[in-house]
């Protein structure tokens, strides 16, 4: 029989029950979704890293490594396996597409895996190539097709033996300044060492890739000793594939911890207030059951089971939402699919999620248990007495003169706000949450727009970027710069506290490239100071006017420079002018020319060119992803606001039903009563916004710090975002209040004011 009561009560409090279920479902959904996302990225990338022998360390030397060098490295105890390796950018013949042509002597390190049909890798094959399946698909290339690549003056023709994926190209970017892969114009391929040797006419490997569990410092020392010279060592963290994949994992961790906490906290608070309401409303029923002879335990179980069933239904829906969300982000055709090139896209449910879900459910049930426990105190007769709400207390404001000037409606609302602290707190919580999500979401987009505007639209002031061939001399490069009225730059790898950093040397006469300063404005390079990017400065405690010393890789020279200030850059870098570099006597080689000319004639000293448009296009997908994310956040904010406020509004309405009926009898019009209810919500909405917007800005800063530190961004919030946030939050509050105030018309005055015993 109690089961029937359970169902009927659930029907009676349906709006509360539904809103709690929605909150729990959203909380658990977001929690499960983002945590599944990052765990699944970790599992799936682990699989491809493992399967294709992703290297732990890369030794890099532009002069190449000999067979003897390789043997010395293999001899280091702690090195499990290694390979000589090279990746060069080749151009597809009669096309502008670039293919990173890769050779790994020992394919079990830095290798690849075959996708679909095709021939297994053959170390001796001479005229076969294994091509990125993504590039093949975008360019409509099939197994057996012929492809011709050019490098300098060398042409290499091969037939496609198989379509592959490789962890070395997990995130396939031609240049670290680009945000998203573009398989239409950039891909990768493997050929055998034999084929490479034949095409080049010699053996040449610029890297030794190593599998080892050693830590970087130990390995670095051991390698230097083995090769008897200092060599640049890159760890996994220094590779785009690994660091970006881990970046995605961390993003998921952040998203999976902030948002769900907000939703679950709101679900729990809603549960506390609602269960308290239900049990206090049913106090006499509880007394009746008690006097009928039901044991306390049975009554406790009955009321706890409300909370329990709400939790379970919410959890089931939540897990469904979580899977949906995880799949939405984590599928080969979805957002992540355009970014990470993984062979498997399995979804994994992390075990800690299950533990958290169980704990949340236990906690919810416990809340139900506690609220009825309170009502069960004492004898059946005591339990039968109706619940008496807390006595009215005077509030501080009443002692001031201002109080007497307030209209009755304001007084009524103020007292109500003070009296029902839990309800007020919950309402504020809901509005604050709503404001945080909207400010955070829209602020994120503002920040990204600002970032793109400064880093790309403004800092890139050239139309074409000309990449100079490796064999070209500085004189030849200068010739090209002069020919196209261009600025030029060079990059030198330097060592700062054991980390590889790039030293960027610019000659800027035509304002084609701009250096971004700490305040996101542009700075001018001078002849006796250098700029240092924010991350390096922060990591090493370097400030303006400090002196700091570095040494280029493969050189024993040390240079001490004075820091002019902090710069913001996509790469960790030290930036200086060409004249300062000359003054210091640093060796450099010009590698890029920036020009406004779009008509670049082919030249043996030009490797390839990139247009500004192509660079900007590459982050369209990225921005699209961002917009989807922001849209989801704003929708979540609105759902949160509407559900929480509606639930509380209904509660307020039920609790004040009698008062509202009295006002009606006295002669207040429906609209006037509605106006009073709306005013109360508006007070709370404004209070919530005043707290919510600064909190939203704080969360935004945190998110940008956590999600995008590699872009060295500064959060930026536009006036429009403030306005939209306020309008949406107030709008949600108004919308809900209007719906609820419409109910005034249905108040049955006669029924409501009947005598109660």
């Amino acid at each position: 029989m109690l089961k029937k009561k359970l169902l009927r009560t659930a029907l009676r409090y349906k709006s509360q029950f539904i809103s709690m279920i929605i909150m729990i479902a959203l909380g658990i959904g977001v929690f499960v979704g983002f945590n599944m996302e990052w765990v699944s990225i970790e599992e799936n990338t682990d699989y491809v890293f493992e399967k294709t022998g992703f290297a732990d360390f890369r030794l890099v030397s532009e002069n190449g490594f000999s067979k003897e060098d390789f043997d010395s490295i293999m001899a280091i105890s702690g090195v499990k396996d290694a390979t000589r390796y090279i990746s060069i950018n080749t151009t597809v013949k009669d096309d502008t597409d670039v293919i990173a042509l890769t050779v790994s002597e020992n394919i079990s390190v830095s290798g690849f895996m075959l996708i679909g049909e095709g021939k297994e890798y053959d170390n001796d094959s001479k005229d076969e190539i294994w091509l990125s399946d993504q590039y093949a698909e975008k360019n409509n290339i099939k197994v057996g097709d012929k492809i011709t690549l050019t490098y300098k003056n060398i042409e290499f023709q091969a037939s496609v033996a198989g379509l592959i994926k490789s962890s070395e190209y997990l995130i396939c970017l031609p240049d670290p300044t680009l945000l998203m892969p573009d398989y239409n114009s950039y891909g990768f391929a493997y050929i055998s060492p034999e084929a490479f040797k034949e095409a080049m006419g010699m053996e040449f490997y610029t890297q030794i890739n190593v599998l080892s569990d050693m830590d970087k410092e130990d390995f670095s020392k051991a390698a230097d000793k083995a090769l008897s010279k200092t060599t640049l060592v890159l760890s996994k963290d220094d590779t785009v594939s690994y660091s970006e994949a881990m970046g995605e994992v961390n993003e998921g961790k952040t998203m999976g911890s902030i948002l769900p906490v907000l939703f679950i906290a709101i679900a729990v608070l809603t549960m506390v207030t609602t269960m308290h309401r239900i049990t206090s409303n049913e106090k006499t029923q509880i007394g009746t059951l008690k006097s009928l002879g039901f044991r306390d335990r049975k009554i406790l179980v009955h009321y706890s089971s409300y909370a329990f069933s709400i939790g379970i239904i919410g959890t089931i829906l939540g897990i469904g939402i979580g899977y949906g969300l995880a799949y939405y982000i984590m599928n080969p055709y979805g957002a992540m699919g355009t970014y990470i090139d993984m062979p498997t896209w399995n979804l994994y449910m992390p075990s800690f999620c299950i533990i958290v879900i169980v704990l949340v459910n236990l906690f919810l049930t416990f809340i139900g248990f506690l609220s009825v426990k309170k009502m069960l105190h004492g004898t059946a007769a005591e339990a039968l007495r109706p619940y008496v709400p807390s006595k009215m207390k005077r509030i501080l404001l009443e002692r001031t003169k201002l109080w007497n000037r307030l209209g009755f409606g304001t007084k009524w609302n103020m007292r109500d706000i003070i009296r029902h602290k839990a309800r007020t707190g919950m309402t504020l919580f809901g509005i604050i949450g709503c404001a945080i999500l909207i400010v955070g979401g829209l602020g994120m987009q503002d920040t990204m727009n600002y970032f793109v505007d400064v880093f790309y639209n403004k800092a890139i002031n050239y139309q074409t970027r000309i990449n100079i061939s490796e064999q070209a001399t500085n004189e030849q490069a200068l010739e090209i710069a002069k020919q196209y009225n261009g600025d030029y730059s060079s990059t030198v790898s330097i060592d700062i506290a054991g980390d590889p950093v790039s030293l960027e040397i610019y000659n800027i006469e035509h304002d084609r490239v701009r250096i971004i300063g700490e305040d996101m404005g542009f700075v001018t390079l001078n002849d006796n100071e250098a700029y240092i990017s924010k991350r390096i400065a922060d990591d090493n405690g370097i400030k303006q006017n400090d002196l700091f010393t570095f040494s280029p890789y493969g050189s024993d020279e040390e240079y001490t420079v004075k820091i002019a200030g902090i710069s913001r850059s996509m790469t960790e870098s030290v930036v200086m002018s060409e004249s300062y570099a000359k003054k210091l006597g640093i060796d450099y080689k010009i590698i890029v020319v920036y020009t406004n000319d779009t008509d670049i004639k082919s030249d043996e000293n030009i490797a390839n060119t990139q247009t500004k448009q192509a660079i900007i296009d590459s982050f369209d997908v990225f921005m699209e992803l961002m917009t989807t994310m922001v849209f989801l956040l704003v929708i979540a904010a609105i759902i949160l606001g509407v559900v929480v406020l509606y639930n509380l509004g209904i509660m307020n309405y039920i609790e004040r039903y009698r008062e509202l009926a009295t006002l009606k009898v006295v002669g207040f019009r429906d609209k006037k009563i509605g106006g009073l209810l709306i005013m109360e919500n508006l007070y709370l909405a404004f209070a919530g916004i005043i707290v919510g917007i600064p909190l939203g800005l704080w969360v935004l800063d945190y998110l940008i710090g956590a999600l995008a530190s590699e872009y060295e961004m500064v959060s930026c919030v536009t006036i429009t975002t403030y306005i939209i946030s306020i309008v949406l939050t107030v709008g949600v509050s108004l919308f809900v209040s209007l719906i609820i105030s419409k109910k005034n018309k249905k108040i049955d005055m006669v029924e409501a004011l009947k005598a109660t015993e």
Binding site: M392, F408, W412, R415, K664, V666, F668, T756
Partner: protein, 233 residues
Amino acid sequence: MNIAEFKNVSKIYTSGDHTLKALDNVDFELENGKFIVVLGPSGAGKSTLLNMIGGLDIPTSGTIIINGKDISKLSNDELADYRAKTVGFVFQSYNLIPTLTVYENVELVSDIVDNALSSEEMLEQVGLKDHMKNFPSELSGGEQQRVSIARALAKNPEILLCDEPTGALDSQTGIVILRLLQKMAKDYGKTIIIVTHNQNISKMADVVVRVKNGKIQSIEKQAEPLSVDEIDW
């Protein structure tokens, strides 16, 4: 002049197949400025009658004219305005707003009525001047009922409607309330309609209306009504 005229008024409540005739073709007139008691057993339709006069409910058929105005076909808002200006209600269960003080409970009517009487004066009249700053929950039942009378009168209405005003009070407190009602009616010249099942109260009425089974049984004028203190409670 008549304060209230009922012409063929019926009120039928339907729920599902079940219909209940609360008022069955009722026809009567009530004179202005009188102390009127509506008497009848529970379920007779006397509260329905009171609710009709008070504009809380509209008849299923028929016409109700209060103070020369037909109120049987008013809109919701017009009814609210009618309640604000023409009638004052006193209920068995007081129905004060618990979050407002005694003073504020009375003062709230000035939000809707232009010619409201001074709240302080009304509270002084009902003997609660010293409790103005208290909340209803800090008062006894009798005191709370006095607040509700002050609130009803502060609107300066034409008619004061009381539904079992002493129903929730002990007899001593009930007498105090009735005495107050009688005094206020006299001092302010209002028509008072009290609905009750208590025969004794009818002894103080100018007019006694007896209701049974949704019909008016009799309307009886008493030439010499007793004062509260003359009645043997």
